[in-house]
């Protein structure tokens, strides 16, 4: 005998669930489905969109990077290997 009230009654069938899951994954992938057209890239071209927009900040970051990570030359050209960061 079938139960009258069941959660199964309110769940879509398997292919639909797969479809929904796939759709959700695509949505959550965080990619632009319609990337901006070549003529719409004014905002992307702003200098504030650069990683190294702030010179002082990027210098400080570089300094911290090679000091803490002991990566002499790791963020650019090879270092001298003297260990004197």
């Amino acid at each position: 005998m079938k139960p009258i009230l069941s959660v199964n009654n309110y769940l879509p069938n398997r292919p639909v669930l797969y479809g929904l899951a796939a759709g959700l994954m695509l949505l959550l992938s965080g990619c632009a489905f319609n990337p901006p057209a070549p003529w719409e890239r004014g905002d992307l071209a702003k200098s504030s969109m650069r990683f190294d927009n702030d010179k002082l900040d990027s210098l400080a970051q570089k300094h911290t990077y090679f000091s803490k990570e002991a990566a002499s030359g790791g963020s650019g050209v090879g270092g001298g290997g003297c260990g004197c960061n």
Partner: protein
């Protein structure tokens, strides 16, 4: 049970629609290449409406530019030179600005004065119809309204080559 099936059907349609809307169909655009009939440009200019409908004896060089595009800036002195050189031979240079804000374009034009015709398309309808793939893009349109050639990007190395190509096109008629 019937209700559940109906709901399932409904969800199936919905999920297919969602998939199609978000993933399946990137903008299908047919780029305007040489030999194609060029879309007509009819846009507000600095003082009057700019239109590029086909006219006997008139060649149109349509260029798409923006204030934030560095190679576009490079092309401005060159376009001024081409305007001075080929205007008398029937060349109309129309530089379509695609900045979203008019103020950006005006500031650029103050720094880079243009002798040639400027048109404004903040909504981007014209570049969409041309299916512009790069900034800047230039289209040479012959008097019958067909695209003769397309040039994407601009470097100083292009200047002499494009000059020669313009000269050749205008003398062939």
């Amino acid at each position: 049970m019937n209700r559940a099936r109906a709901m399932g059907q409904h969800l199936r349609t919905l999920s297919i629609a969602a998939l199609a809307a978000f993933a399946g169909f990137p903008l299908v655009s047919h780029a305007v290449e040489s030999g194609a009939v060029a879309p007509t440009v009819s846009l507000p200019g600095i003082s009057a409406t700019v239109s590029t409908s086909a006219q006997p004896g008139r060649w149109v060089y349509v260029d798409f530019w923006a204030s934030w595009c560095a190679p576009c800036k490079r092309s401005f002195p060159w376009m001024n030179a081409m305007h001075a050189k080929y205007q008398s031979r029937g060349l109309l240079i129309v530089a379509v600005n695609v900045d979203a804000k008019r103020a950006d374009a005006d500031r650029f034009l103050k720094q880079n004065p243009a002798e040639f015709t400027i048109a404004f398309d903040p909504a981007g309808e014209t570049p969409k119809r041309f299916a512009v793939k790069a900034m800047p893009s230039a289209y040479l349109i012959d008097p019958s309204g067909r695209v003769r050639w397309v040039h994407r990007g601009f470097t100083d190395a292009d200047a002499a080559k494009l000059d020669a190509e313009l000269d050749a096109a205008l003398s062939r008629k």
